[in-house]
Amino acid sequence: MADPRDPFAGALADGQSGGRTNGEPIRIAPIVGVAAAQVQAWPGRKADLAHSLAPLGLTLPDGLAFTETGGRLCGRIAPGRYLIFSPDTVADIATAVPGSVGAVADLSHARAGVRISGGSVEALLAKGAALPFDPAGFPPGTLAQTSIHHMGVLILRRSETVFDLYVLTSFARSFADWLTDACREFGWITAHPTRLAPTADVPA
């Protein structure tokens, strides 16, 4: 059962709609139980930040990418600034980073995540964002911050056919409206809410 507290679970009615007779529908699943924190190193202290986070198994990515270690995702969202997604809690991250190295802001309630999967996901995303979503230009492990239909969105490619999208919580329903509308030509089906599981665990 969907958790009504979750912005996307509340916004996406169970069901399915539209679609060609000869095509695989897009599966849409709210990502629930995810904690998030923005971590920033003070100027010149990036190495110290990496050192502080290493005991938690976290690795800082370079470039427009995210790392996936120990069930956590760490994406680079600005120079020296990272957004970490974690199952359940980010409290240990705040503890691990001393105030002399950087700052940790808990944004667990500020982001709402949705996982989309299926053979047409690239075509779906192309409607919203002017980014090359083919696997050569946007391989698994790539992160992008862009806007879709005037809403800021963080895009993480988990595998060839699976993307995780995060928006501001207050935009969840408008984003769900955009998403299900943009899916109409492919068809869509709401899947059970999913956890921040490794990609391999995601039913394709």
């Binding site: 500020a110 501001l168 068809g187």
Partner: protein
Amino acid sequence: MTGFRLDEGGALIDRARPLSFRFDGHSEIGFAGDTLASALLASGHRLFGRSFKYHRPRGLLGAGPEEPNALMTLGDSSDREPNIQATMAEVYEGLSAESQNRWPSLKHDLMAGPLALMAPGLKAGFYYKTFMGPGRKAWDFYEPIIRRAAGLGRASHAPDDSRYEKTNAFCDVLVVGGGPAGLAAALTAARSGARVLLADETAAFGGSLFESLASLDGMAAQDWAENAVAELTALPTVRLLPRTTVYGYYDGNVLGAVERVQDHLAERDPDLPRHRHWTVHAGRVVLATGAIERPLVFAGNDLPGVMLASAVERYLTRYAVAAGRSAVVFGANNAIYRSAERLKAAGVDVRAVVDARPNPPQEPAHHIASAGIALHAGTLVSEATGRRGLKAVRLARADASGQPRDGWTETIETELLAVSGGWTPTIHLASQAGGPPVWSADRDAFLPGTPREAWTAAGAANGTADLAALMADGARAAGEAASSLGFDSGVTVVPTIEDPDATATPVRPLRAIRTRKGRGKAFVDFQNDVTASDVRLAHQEGYRSVEHLKRYTTLGMATDQGKTSNVNALALMAEAQGAAIPEVGTTRFRPPYTPVSLGALAGREVGAHFRPVRRTPMHDWHVAQGADMIAAGAWMRPRVYRRDGESVTDAYIREARTVREAAGMVDVSTLGKITVQGPDAGEFLNRVYVNGFGKLAVGKARYGVMLREDGFVYDDGTTWRLADDDFLMTTTTANAAGVLARLEKHLAVDWPDLRVAVASATDQWAGLALAGPKSREILQRVIDDLDLSNEGTPFMAVRRAHVGSMPVIVARLSFSGELAYEVHCGARDGLAVWEAIHEAGQTSGLVAYGTEALGTLRIEKGHVSGPELDGRTTLADLGMAKMASTKKPFVGQALMDRAAMTVADRKLMVGLKVLDDRPVRTGAHIVSDTMPESVASLGHVTSPTYSPALGCHIALALVSGGGKEGDRLTVVDPIRSGEHIPVEVVSPHFFDPEGDRLHG
């Protein structure tokens, strides 16, 4: 009857799928694959429209996007769309088409008679000269009448129910045009491994290969094209977009294209768009856009039955339609011989080939002679005659300059005249993204100029005519494009070609053929009814620049954009000026190449999807409680919770009164929130706020104001110290993003040495404000781990607590002037916390209140908000001058005391009490109370309301000099109401000025 369907052939039609459609209310038949033009032509129609200005009968000139005459209105309900070229519209079962610019019918157009009589006077500029002369009033009278008489189709006023979408595509090589050069280019690029996008404006790829008699790699040209398309379709790196017009070429190698996804279907899928707009991001572009045949300019050249020779061939090969039972072919190049032979082979009585060249090439001449077709060399068609359609052509001997030597020599009756005036490369996209087109005397055409973006023109667009050469050109262009992007260009796809048409085609320019007086009009621009004499007149009257020529005569305007008229008009101008064509210049093209539906540009940003909105976690609760929701920026907020029979005013007065008498709660989740963390956070806040924050105690909040760099007030709010190095700043709902951007800029650019991190936390927290004398007892019912008394939670205290198991932050803050608490919690807990407090308050008379009551309560207290923080007010204007610290620098300090910001007559914030029972409105002017119409405005009302606490209408206002308490002024609202309302100046702290209630 003239045109007819051949018994066999037609590469694009499916004879097994006949279909019926309607044209001007009559039932017509065609085959799947037909265009509206080919189907009507096959049924014997010659008349396709009435011309723009003279209402002359017009038939088909072309067979593609160049068609200037056959504009139709398609559809009959909300999808009704005017000005669609019959040559580009595919027929489907049930299609409804109407001709345009005629009344009552195409055949009997009542405007045609009078306009024919008036025609000799209707020269370029006629309307302006005649109807504007008497003055502006005269033009205002005549203009609508003229516009009604002249025109194209009319759009529907009904909302368009069709779905439109927009999307993006990325490719290495974009090939525009799917003719022979485009196919060779696409295959070459695709085989190199590049991602290829191939777009063609028609339904089928192949272009002129449909008309080619050549063999390619031993195959018929059409079979080769089919194989090429099959190979491309099978490649995962290739996307084929038929029915897709690339209309615009923009900076950064970005191109706009419109795919007509369903216009050709009788049954449309509601899940698919009608049109899909593609924004194409291309590494390199091959412009294989082809060429458009040029018509010839002679008297009567617009009669239905006079067509481009290439179009005549297209109707034969693609749709198996002969455009007439008898034909004459006229031109000055070798292609006309193939047209004649092809017509003859189709069973048309070809009565003559008229070649303006005195010495036509021998081999083709021999061919047609053996087919029994008369050849008139060194001869012109000087005139076409007929009333509603072509009946006969008159021939004249050509002199050395290509003009008739004397009178006509012969008259030949014919239904069809196929003309060829040479070829105009389609250089619209090249021109949009390149330098001026370059004149080629060899080709008698403008060729693409210097690229400004990464494109290469290829094939006929480059002025190449020979099939083998243009395919090699396409392959070369694509090979270079692919290799420049790092793909292996070892393979260039050029088939082995044997082409019977491959003889060198010497081009002899054939210019406008002079018309003998009284022998009818010779048209240059068919769509805009511009004649050769209009162009000459423009020259005589001094409109010599091509740009002036265009605007004076309307040549090259409207949907056509000069596709068939451009070069002929320039040639006329050149002749009139005694100059060469390139000296006269050429029009540059701008997007779009052909019209783009507005729906495609809007995509899904219509109706409920017009723009996204932000919702608080309590949104559904508000709606369920009957709140009127109102947009506050992107946010949706409850305005009032109306009860049965209440007006908005009734509701907010009740809500505000209840807050002062008992308690109310309001959703403040939209408040901007920014985390400010780090060892230097206190110092940072000291610099951005006018007042001090460095010494703010942990667990306390402070109200702060920030200025812009120019010294004016920017934003305000409270900032809370949660820990030594951890602050939570609140901003106004409207400025949250702007404040964050400023803070980021200060940290990145101004003070990079500060160890401070900021992050937007607006969405992290749901918030509510609980206000009123009973707020403490209500809140204490749901919180047992925090003492809410004045000792436990004093004014401005910030404390952590729990509602049930849910962690909250309680801040003793008040916007209403009442004893009040803000309760903030994680957004996912927002609804539960709200409901818990709401329920706990029911026995105490708690109500939910909206933004209207929120405004009333703050106006009664004289708290500033958006209407006062309008970017023009200073701290002193708002009565907050004393807040500014003198002990530390802050943003805006350097400029806040400029002379103009301290003069005595600045508008200062005051309170106004209305002296009768009428409301005043935001923006109304304030004047001294004598003679309101004749004195200057002293200021304006910023925030008016009815005050239930005071029992009268009040307002905050900005008044020059501020006035004195007790001054009588008048509020005037000349535009909206015209009322004069007497008011008295009072302190803006209308209610409880001592603040006793706040401290509970």
